[in-house]
Amino acid sequence: MKQIALIVILAAIAAVVPLFMGENPYFTGILISVLMMAALSSAWNLLGGYAGQYSFGHAAYFGAGAYTTMILITLYNLNPVLCMAAGMVVACIIALITGSIVFRLRGHYFALASIAVAEIVRLSVLNFEFTGGAQGILLSDLSLWGLDLNSKNPFYYGMLLVLVVSLGITAYLRKSKTGFYLQAIREDQDAAASLGINLSFYKNKALLISAALTSVLGSLYGLYIRFIDTSAVLDLRLSIEIILTAIIGGVGTLWGPVIGAVLLVPLAEMLRSNFIGDALVKAGLVSETSGMGLFLKENLAHAHVLVYGIITVLCILYLPKGILGLFRRVK
Amino acid sequence: MLDIQNLHAGYGEMPVLCSVNITIAEREIVSVVGSNGAGKSTLLKAISGIIKSTGIITFNHESLRTLAAHTIVQRGIVHVPEGRKIFPDMTVVENLMMGGYLHQKERQINLDRVFALFPKLAERRNQLGGTMSGGEQQMLAIGRGLMGNPKLLLLDEPSLGLSPLFTEVVFGAIRTINASGVTVLLVEQNVYQSLSISHRGYVIETGAIVLTGTGEELLNNREVKRAFLGM
């Protein structure tokens, strides 16, 4: 109950943020990315964090939403909401097929089988014609059903809504029979089964919810960027990023994914845009023409993924339980 | 031979043992008895170096406390852990071979000795350890310990899950082993049998030694009878 209240309060605060921001598309864009990643990783967390089924193939559901929506819109100009619903159905079908195959496997075998399924989806999309194949799908119409695609606010609220739903489901499930059952499955599948838990039913339940949420985010992403191809929405990198966010925030916790996204997404963007180097130069701490300044400007641009890697490693070494784990310890 | 003074140990922030003092002389069988959760296994783990502890543990006048677990084994202290911990994907023979990891030269002799003691293991020599029955695994674990040429053998509930017939065999084997010059520290729930074969015993309660005496004295102690023997 407390958690639900907290979700509502934070969501309300997040909802008014755009009102105060005015026209700042760059900043709004980053916030959208944060919300999207938080929601993605929260949806993943239901399956990965609670049920302990480390899916490395969540990009497949994201891609299913994005592709279904974009194909239906470019071909039939359907209402975006209908498209999203269709995307959800497609994602759920993929999830059911995936579930029936991979849920018989455990541990590493499960993780790698989930990658295999996602790769099959990716390669199929790449090879088929109707999906745009390697060329991807570009959405050129700038207005859809009265929605101004140039405005970012609809996407901001869309992502926020999915995040809130995902957190709400998590908070509710955590204290319910399903939540306990998922955790039991995570701890010991044999013990769980012997206590009357239908393993495949509960794993599939978690997977379906997770996949459906993920697909909606994919649909929103497609409409937001207006261009998708397999490397943007179906890549293994995306799946890994989702997991990374959850782990750095705190896996199997309600707020971990949110915290992970709030930290990682802006960090990645700051590194990408060389914000840190620029800030140092602007603050006059480093002269632009000095060796250090040149290094920051010239090399850091190449090195931002390197720095990201270093930060990942440090986080895993020093915050193994995620950032939430850190607070727990302090408390 | 083994001298423990003022030993403290625990898991994370939770203390389990407080101020434990125990001495064991060469060629003795010493039992530690106590109810569930008293800290018996923890005591053995502290001696074999699996968990960290503070205080003094010396073995033949050398301090063990700072040594790593695998170095302690080299000194001749072999710990047969609770719950057996056999290597599930290795065959019976391979499990035993691992027990003799530090004593490669005597492996064959030791292997024959173990097979003589537990013929069932010889029969199942190529079965995967993980598929053995509970009691079979217990034999394997003890056999594996013997492969390590122990000077001091730490046995954690060796009769757990053994049939009555086989429990007798194992207690007999412990005597034989002891007679061949190996000192034994025995943790058992089977209080009657273990105290019967022990020279001395300690009673541990919530992490502290509360009583000590010869095996016989303890068996006849009122408290012990009430608490452990259900009399």
């Binding site: 204290k175 319910s176 029979k177 306990f180 059952y181 955790q183 039991a184 701890e187 010991d188 044999d190 013990a191 769980a192 089964a193 012997s194 206590l195 009357g196 838990i197 239908n198 393993l199 | 898991y11 939770m14 008895v33 109810s35 569930n36 959760g37 296994s41 609770e82 719950g83 069932k120 079965q127 598929t131 053995m132 029955s133 509970g134 009691g135 079979e136 217990q138 034999m139 509930e157 757990l160 899950g161 053994l162 049939s163 009555p164 017939l165 086989f166 429990t167 007798e168 065999v169 729930q189 089977n190 209080v191 009657y192 009430r226 608490a227 452990f228 023997l229 259900g230």
Partner: protein
Amino acid sequence: MIQHLLHISHVSKHFGGNVAVSDVSFSVDEKEIFGLIGPNGAGKTTLFNCMTGFYPATAGDVIFDNKKINALRPDEVCRLGMVRTWQRVKPLGTLTVLENVMIGAFAITNATRDAEAIARENLQAVGLSDYADKLAGSLPIGLKKKLELARVLATHPKMLLLDEICGGLNHTETDTILEIIRRVRKQGATIVFIEHDMKAVTSICDRIVVLNSGEKLAEGTPEEITNNPDVIAAYLGGGYNA
């Protein structure tokens, strides 16, 4: 023909060339406490695994409550009212003791609050109340056994399969467990009891089946069994005096 709650009919289980259970038959009546004993590796645990859907039996049938349950999944068997404990305990390590038992209780209720109440009741019954908020993984072996028991009790089963639930307990603690089992029986449950502690077995069981190398060696009352020369030779040993 009398209706038995459980009927094991010609069950065999092979692992490759290894015969773990071979053509075993027996029946258990309602409200009975039924002992299953035998030397190590006799096939007792394997029989439990075949009864509860963890292994498919190579041959034979398991009939429970007039239903054939051979091909059912473990969770289906549990929901029919037959539930087992694990010889190699399986605590849900990062959940608390209370939560572990709640998982059991969810078999009969959907409400979290009810589950908690049932769980607390059963923790009380086995004497684990003080440990309710500890992580199950950190319990010592003896208490883990008690937790196994509490967890299955919380499912309110018709039939309990207990696999060496007293292993690792001393006599006094064993007595408390036996007391609990008697009470459960009084409330209407039937129990199949695997144990090596003969004192416990003889004091509590109505009837006993002895397995040896996968085959049924003997069946009878505790007296009959403890005086059976075959059983003494194969299992009890000469030093045994009941």
